[in-house]
Amino acid sequence: MPNRPGKKDIFLTGLWKDNPVLRQILGICSTLAVTNLMVNTLVMNAGLIFTVCMSSLTVSLLKNYTPMRIRMMVQTLIIASYVIIVDILIRAYMPDISEALGPYVALIITNCIIMGRCESFARHNPPVASLLDGLGMSLGYSLVLITIAFIREPLGFGTLLGFRILPEGFVQWTIMIMAPGAFFTLGFLVWIFKYFQPRNEGKETK
């Protein structure tokens, strides 16, 4: 790499320019599934931030010891372990939300964002940088999800975080609670993003 990006750049890239959801189109499954309620979204965000950061950190710390041939298995094991821990903690301390999230907490394991960061960044970079990269990417993901939930919950339920924010007479857009609403909202957001932030030449993270 000709120009080593500074720590601040590493962090900020994940937030906007190389946003994992809107630019890299990763982590879509959970983005669509949990965003019909803001509270579920926030818990999912916390779970993902924890997992990405811890996984990236661990992979980076072990990068000099892990044999090349088994690195994918090791990464999967690390990610899955942290997700199991998050799942147990959510089930213990927030049982209702755990039931509402259902299998989507476990699906963090197959969330391409985490594996993507481990494989393309944490594997080659020092721990602090990897941690910042993970933090930036997961915060970028969180911001997108919060934006979508901000649209879906009020329009679909008339509430935000359980508090009624639209008047009683408002006819709910039930479609926003269900699958099609999720697809449309995300589709429009990606469209708006790509309109203002066209193809990112140079840094192509796959």
Partner: protein, 212 residues
């Protein structure tokens, strides 16, 4: 060959480390998870028997209230709950677990029944896999409150204990509001709940009176 052996050893060590970590976390939280389940069930039973419970009640106080006023009895494979009044002698009602296939997965709930088994005291669903905001609304108060005071009788010749019909089309007293937009969940509930209530009246009611 040495590289392969090294990989295997490494994999083994890493797996051991994380497996231990997971087991530790699980061990530390097991009790809490189990308590959550128990308290949830207790809360539901108290609710369907219409025993008032403060919103912010602590888990210990809830359990204390529960053990004071509820007794569980086993009839065959089923556990039923007898709810007493504060004097601990007059029976307030019975809480009967009910369950059946919903649209997406099993639905589990609890029905409160008056001491003479003639009416419903209350109803609550506590476990389901239905769509949030649609079928999932069976947990909402407006839906379960409809069942309060519903007359109970063994089903003869298709005369259901209740029917779920679209909002605003009710003609008789035992026709209740289905959930708009959740036809499948509503019909599934109608089918299994009628069956479960009928089953209770025919199979268990006699046995309870004996056990008193």
């Amino acid at each position: 060959m040495k590289k392969q052996a090294l990989s295997i050893v490494y994999m083994f060590l890493i797996t051991l480390f994380f497996a231990s970590l997971i087991s530790a976390v699980k061990f530390l939280n097991e009790a809490k998870i189990e308590t959550n389940q128990i308290v949830k069930l207790q809360r539901i039973i108290l609710k369907v028997l219409d025993i008032p419970v403060q919103e912010a009640i602590s888990n210990e106080n809830l359990t204390r209230l529960f053990t004071a006023q509820i007794k569980d009895i086993q009839i065959g494979k089923k556990t039923l709950y007898i709810g007493y009044e504060e004097d601990r002698r007059t029976i307030r009602g019975y809480a009967v677990p009910v369950g059946g296939p919903g649209f997406w997965g099993p639905i589990e709930g609890m029905v409160g029944i008056t001491p003479d088994a003639k009416k419903v005291l209350g109803l609550a669903f506590y476990k389901h896999n239905e769509t949030p905001g649609l079928g999932g609304r069976i947990t909402e108060d407006w839906f379960s409150d409809q069942f309060k005071g519903l007359p109970l009788y063994p089903i003869e010749g298709g005369q259901n204990i209740f029917f779920l019909t679209p909002e605003g089309t009710q003609k008789r007293a035992n026709e209740l509001d289905a959930i708009t937009g959740a036809t499948n969940t509503s019909s599934a509930v109608e089918v299994f709940l009628n069956q479960e209530l009928d089953f209770f009246l025919r199979e268990f009611w006699g046995s309870i009176e004996e056990k008193e």
